[in-house]
C-alpha cells in the first residue's frame, strides 16, 4: 500500500525514467496477436463491405448484408443455419453442462474410489481429434456395421434404432449429442476445480447446521460454483457458434440431410471456399463471418454486462 502511494506522489515531482521494459515485454505478444488475430479480423470486416463487380473489387457498403438478409434464398439458408446453431447450443446447455456439473459433484465426493481413473476416462474424448470422434460415432451409429443396432438388439430394443444421422428430424440432435460426448470433460474439469476450492470449513459449518447431502449441494455448493457455470456457459456459447469441424466430418460440407445439420460454420465454409462445382464467394463469406462475429460479440456482451455483474461472489 505504502509503495503505491509513494509512487503516485513521485509522479508529480520529478521525472521518472521512461519505463521502456513495459513496451519491450508487451511488443512481442502484441505483434503476434495483431498479426494473427486483429489484422485478419479487420480484413474480414473490410472484405464484407466489398464485392467483385466486373472483375474489380469495389466498395459496396452494406449491400452484401442486404443480400444476406434480403434475398429469400440467402436469408432462408442463413436463418436455417442460425436456428440449427441455437438448437445445437441449447442441447449443449441442457445436456452437456448439467452432466458436467453432476460428474464434477460425483468426482468431488471424498469417499469415491478410482476417482483419478474416472476423471481421466471422462476427459479423454476432449483430447481426441474431432476427425476421430466423428469417424468413431459414424461407425457406432451405422445401421450396417454399427455396434448400436447390435447392442440394442441384445436388450430387445432393436425397434427404437433408426438411422439417426440420416434423418432430417434426428440428425442435428445426434450430432449435438456426439459433440456433448466429446466436450463434457471441459465443464466437468472446471466445475471440479471450483468445487475443490470450496473450503472445508464452509462445508463443516453447513454440516453443523444440519445442511447435508442434496440440500448441501443446492444451498452451499451450487451458489459457490455459479461463477464457474457462468464461464462455462459463455465458453459453450462461443464454442458452439464457432463450431464447424464435427458437423463437417460427420455430415459433410452440405450438412445434410436437407440442410438439417447446417450451422453457421458450415454455411460460412461452403460460401467462402465453395464446394464441388460451387465457386467460393469471398465477399459473401466474409459477410457471414462478420455476422457470426457480431452474434458472438453481442452474446458475450450480454453475459458480461447483464449477468456477470449481478453475480454474487463470495470471499473466504
Amino acid at each position: 500500500m505504502s509503495t503505491v502511494e509513494q509512487a503516485s506522489a513521485d509522479r508529480g515531482n520529478d521525472k521518472r525514467p521512461w519505463r521502456w521494459h513495459i513496451a519491450v515485454f508487451l511488443t512481442p505478444a502484441l505483434l503476434v496477436y495483431t498479426a494473427v488475430m486483429i489484422l485478419p479480423l479487420i480484413e474480414t470486416l473490410r472484405l464484407s463491405l466489398f464485392n467483385v463487380k466486373d472483375g474489380q473489387s469495389v466498395f459496396v457498403g452494406f449491400d452484401n448484408f442486404a443480400v444476406l438478409f434480403g434475398d429469400p434464398r440467402w436469408a432462408a439458408s442463413f436463418w436455417n443455419a442460425l436456428k440449427n446453431n441455437f438448437i445445437f447450443f441449447i442441447i449443449h446447455m441442457v445436456v452437456q453442462n448439467p452432466i458436467g456439473v453432476a460428474l464434477a459433484a460425483l468426482l468431488s465426493v471424498p469417499k469415491l474410489r478410482f476417482g483419478a481413473f474416472y476423471r481421466t476416462a471422462l476427459f479423454l474424448p476432449t483430447l481426441l481429434s474431432f476427425v476421430i470422434v466423428g469417424f468413431i460415432w459414424k461407425l457406432i451409429l451405422s445401421p450396417i456395421w454399427g455396434v448400436s443396432p447390435f447392442l440394442l438388439d441384445l436388450v430387445g430394443l432393436k425397434s427404437i434404432f433408426s438411422p439417426w444421422l440420416g434423418k432430417p428430424g434426428s440428425a442435428l440432435i445426434a450430432v449435438s449429442l456426439i459433440s456433448v460426448w466429446q466436450y463434457v470433460g471441459i465443464p466437468m474439469m472446471l466445475i471440479y476445480a471450483a468445487m475443490l476450492n470450496i473450503p472445508d470449513e464452509v462445508l463443516e459449518a453447513a454440516e453443523c447446521d444440519g445442511v447435508t447431502g442434496w440440500s448441501q449441494f443446492w444451498k452451499i455448493k451450487l451458489p459457490l460454483i455459479l461463477p464457474s457455470i457462468g464461464i462455462i456457459s459463455i465458453l459453450t456459447f462461443v464454442g458452439n457458434f464457432n463450431a464447424f469441424d464435427l458437423v463437417y466430418t460427420v455430415q459433410g460440407a452440405l450438412a445434410g440431410p436437407d440442410g438439417a445439420t447446417d450451422i453457421l460454420g458450415t454455411l460460412l465454409y461452403r460460401t467462402f471456399f465453395g464446394f464441388q462445382l460451387q465457386i467460393g464467394d469471398k465477399s459473401m463469406g466474409a459477410t457471414i463471418a462478420t455476422v457470426m462475429f457480431l452474434i458472438i460479440l453481442s452474446g458475450v456482451c450480454l453475459y458480461l454486462f447483464a449477468i456477470q455483474r449481478r453475480m454474487r461472489r463470495y470471499q473466504f
Binding site: S142, P143, I144, P163, G166, Q276
Partner: protein, 419 residues
Amino acid sequence: MGSKTLKSLLMATSILATAGFAHAADTELTIESWRTDDLAIWQEKLIPAFEAKNPGIKVKFAPTPPTEYDAALGARFDAGSAGDIITCRPFDKSLEQFKRGNLASLTDLPGMKNFSDVAKAAWTTDDGKDAFCVPMASVIHGFIYNKDAFDKLGIAVPTTEAEFFAALDKIKADGTYIPMAMGTKDLWEAATMGYQNIGPTYWKGEEGRAKLIKGEEKLTDAPWVEPYKVLLKWKDYLGDGFEAQTYPDSQNLFTLGRAAIYPAGSWEIGLFNTQAQFKMGAFPPPVKNAGDACYISDHNDIGAGLNAKSKHPEEAKKFLDWVASPEFADIYANALPGFFSLNSTPVKMQDPLAQEFVSWREKCKPTIRSTYQILSRGTPNLENETWVESANVINGTDTPEVAAKKLQDGLDSWYKPAK
C-alpha cells in the same frame, strides 16, 4: 509465406528444368496433371510409346496431388512456370484458364476431328467456337450387378423399367440379398448414381440438356420430374437404414456380396475387380418401354490442353495430336479400366466389365451430366441443390414435384437463358 515458398520452389524447379534443356539436344515437354495415380502408366507405357515414334522430343509427367492441383497450377501460370501440356478439369475451371489466355485454342488441331461434339463439350466455349483441350477420358454410368446372385435367383438382365423393378421385387422376395446398394447419407450418391444415371433416358440425353440450357424446358417439366418419380420407387429396395448409409458403405455392401445391384460409375471397375469375389456384370439404365432408344451418361472427366505460353508449341501440338490418336486411346483406356477414351474410334477393352460399359456407346446415345455445363455457375449452385433434393426425394422429405420446383426456382433466381 506459404505461397512465397511455393513460388520460390516453383522458380527453382523451372530453373532446374531449363538447365536440363541446355544440356540435352532434345526438346522436353512437361505435363501438368492431378492424376498422381497414373504416374506409372505414363512413365512405363504412354511416354515410351510416344518417344519411340517422335525422336527428339522427351516428355516428363509431373503430377500434383488432386487437392492442390488447381491452386498450384494457377500459381504456376501466374509465375510463367507452368508445363507445356496442361491436364484439363472439365467445364468451368478450364474455361476460366482459356479465357485468361493461359490455354491455347486447339480448334485447328488435326486430331480434334476424332472426337464428337459431346466429347468436346467439356472443353468448348459456350458459343461452341473454340475448343481448348483434347478429351482424354470419360466415366460412364450404369448398373453393376452380382452375376452369381442373378444366376441363383434366375433373373435375366433387365432392359426395361418394368423388368428392372420386377428383378428388384424378386431379389427382395428371396431375401438373401439387399436388392440395391445405395445410401443417401453422402447426398451425391443419390444425385450422381441415381438421378444423373437414369435421368438421360427420360430427358432424352443431349436433346433435353440443350433445351434446358436454352430455357425451352424446365426442371419442373415431365421429362425432368419423372426420374425423381422412379428414384422414389427405389426407396423400397435399398438396405435398412439407407438414410445413414455412406458411399463406402454402399461399395462394401456390394463387394462383400450382400447386395445384388449397384448403381455405378465406371470408375468403380478397378476397385471392384480387386475386391469382389464373385462374377460381375453390368447393364445400362433401363429404358421405359422395350424398343425405346437408350441414353447413357458418358461424362467427360479428363482432357489435355496446351499452355499458351509454352516455349515448344509445335512439339506440344505434335504430342496433343498423338493424345487424340486411337493408339493413345487404346493404351490409356486399357491401363485404367473405367476411364474410357472419348475417341470416336472404338477401343477394344481387355477388361470384360469395362468392355460391357463401353459397348453401350454403340447402341445408346451418350450425354453428360445435366448440371455441369453452364447451369452450375450461380448461387444457389444447381449441382449442390441436386444432391440435396435427390436425397430428399428418396428419403421422402420432398415429393418429386416439390424437389423439381425447388431446383427450378433456384435456377430461375440467377440463370437467364439466352433467347
